[in-house]
Symmetry: C2
Subunit: 415 residues, 2 copies
Amino acid sequence: MTMHELFTVLAPADALARLVDGCSPIPRTETVALEAGLGWVAAVDIPAAETLPAFARATMDGYAVRSADTHGASEQSPAYLRLTGDIPTGVVPNVRVGEREAVRIHTGSMLPHGADAVVMVEDTNLHGHDVELLAAAAPGENVLTVGEDIREGAVAVPAGRRLRAADLGGMAALGITSFTAVARPRIAILSTGDEVVPVHATPGPAQVRDVNASTIAATVERAGGIPVRRGIAPDRHDELLLEARGGLAVADALVLSAGSSVSVRDLTAEIVESLGAPGILAHGIAIKPGKPTVLALCAGKPVIGLPGNPASALVVAWRIVRPLVRLLGGEALADDTLGDESFGATLDLPVPSRPGREDYVPCTLARDAAGELHATPIFGASNLIFTLVRSDALIAVPLDRSGLGAGERVTVIVP
Amino acid sequence: MTMHELFTVLAPADALARLVDGCSPIPRTETVALEAGLGWVAAVDIPAAETLPAFARATMDGYAVRSADTHGASEQSPAYLRLTGDIPTGVVPNVRVGEREAVRIHTGSMLPHGADAVVMVEDTNLHGHDVELLAAAAPGENVLTVGEDIREGAVAVPAGRRLRAADLGGMAALGITSFTAVARPRIAILSTGDEVVPVHATPGPAQVRDVNASTIAATVERAGGIPVRRGIAPDRHDELLLEARGGLAVADALVLSAGSSVSVRDLTAEIVESLGAPGILAHGIAIKPGKPTVLALCAGKPVIGLPGNPASALVVAWRIVRPLVRLLGGEALADDTLGDESFGATLDLPVPSRPGREDYVPCTLARDAAGELHATPIFGASNLIFTLVRSDALIAVPLDRSGLGAGERVTVIVP
């Protein structure tokens, strides 16, 4: 047993919480155009400079009326009003609705003075210039009043929101053509391992290509970060330390994909401790695959040492690196959860596990005739990259469970 | 009732199926670098040109042995082997494991000749050059054999797969540095409405800014398409037809955001019928909000006329345009479903609905102490864009339900 293995192994959620407690969203911002805004995070509250709608509008095709004139109208006892005009959309009405008068109006048209309701066309008959009303209208019926959507000075989009289609639509309604976004966090990715060669190289005997740089970069990108690829460092103290320092210097966080052997893991932990205070927060997390993970804070920047095994590295990247990148990117995340990218399925076969450990088990997904999603675990060889390629998702076995039963409702993730 | 309202209103899934039946993934492809591959769709099966692993490797730190020499070993009755060497990772072993010999090996190291198993270091004690084994090893134990991950000639990543982190990792393992992807489909977006002005303009009295171009573009982008913004066309037959033709000519599909009034909807339907055969497939879909939707195929290209109301347009864009763009983009989608972007929550309040119609009801989401996600519907003003901005998600009420009960498990989406 080495020095570092004396550290307590933490639950993934606790390990992440320790890391998050010690770091802050990056302070850099960018001005982003509305058209390019999807997926950027608002750096500050975006206020409404206008009240919307700015004018009372019809929400139906029909007739603008004084509601009092429709009182008691029904199919049995229609009310009759005189048609005095027509208001196209986009123009200011040149008519005023007087007593016992009706003006033809279209969805989106400005409500004319005098009117306080719209009777929808389906509840009317037109006889020449006489409008027959088969239903009464309450004041405000089928009318959108000024400020019902948003009021000047209100927060249109809150700081920390990762912008969705609706948010961009709201900004468009207000004429907001650009906004201040949190810059995308830069995440340095450094692979280690004397047996590891770059993807474009032909491995010699006993060598393998670098898988983890690609999967970690994709995870960072999906979480809104910018992967900064720093290549492969050898498993030697001085060179690895130099490369790790260099990576951390040009980025907001460093993700090391460490070798898998115990000696290399110890080397990684030593290097991480040398990068700055307070150093290692968690040495080992209660997750399978992925236990030999090192989490650290070095001079204010997160440093994560992932296991060298590709499946382990990808699972921990999803579980730890992804939410970290989102938080560094200014996103206001709810309390630790598997997040908004998990979904539910019904488990078809039992999955064994061990309490005190989160398990991620590859599975295939299929829908039954009723549209219900079913997850079938893929057992064996779960630490191979192509097992993950062949799987549709991973079943998340919660920390406190000693396995999941067939027929149970489970959470699945796509790392 | 106008001519077009005589058409049958279709269920959203049926309407989408009719549209999908009549169109194909776009034939254009692009060569994409591995580093940029996230989210692109493989145009053809990507084959493995190598067998992985290419050599038998240790999956644990420990000792490479002949399994026969470990037979019966246990804590009570250890076996003793002679240590004859050490195999670092990345190098070809210069030793051979003979009878009653053991060689130190590290995770990822090449298995030496003679050995057929690895005893993990935790099950051993080292006394000078004598290795004490406290456990037996079966043949192949803690060894990854040649081809266990993937075999030369197998499909590494299938055509139609939208590439995830794991897929990129698999390609990296094989040294695949670029691949053929389906080009991103180009979707023309044309807004209509005499009352609609561009986002950068100051609306006159009775005018509003174009909200739908932004929300539709974001939906297209999220589905992997390229939004081609074609601006705002007036509600006049000849000009609108010209603009619609122009949009369709430069794109793989056309999405019109039609005016909301009946006369403008009829105009849109007329225009769509003029764009090419077979023309309109569905005039109206059983969805709320969003019923006044027109789906058409015009000379092989999909044309979708969305309602003018921003909330309706966004819901139908999510329900219909999003899967269409994914299919045009070559993605092999399962049968029609709400898709892999929906998730589950527990409903906190009953939601009324009407059988025969899919309802999408804005809601907030919160987790309880147990981590369970709860959806609370937001009632009233559901057709306003800022109601969607203020909501976390939409509750999907299935077609056949007459409402959902409190405590029920429901599906929610984020459009």
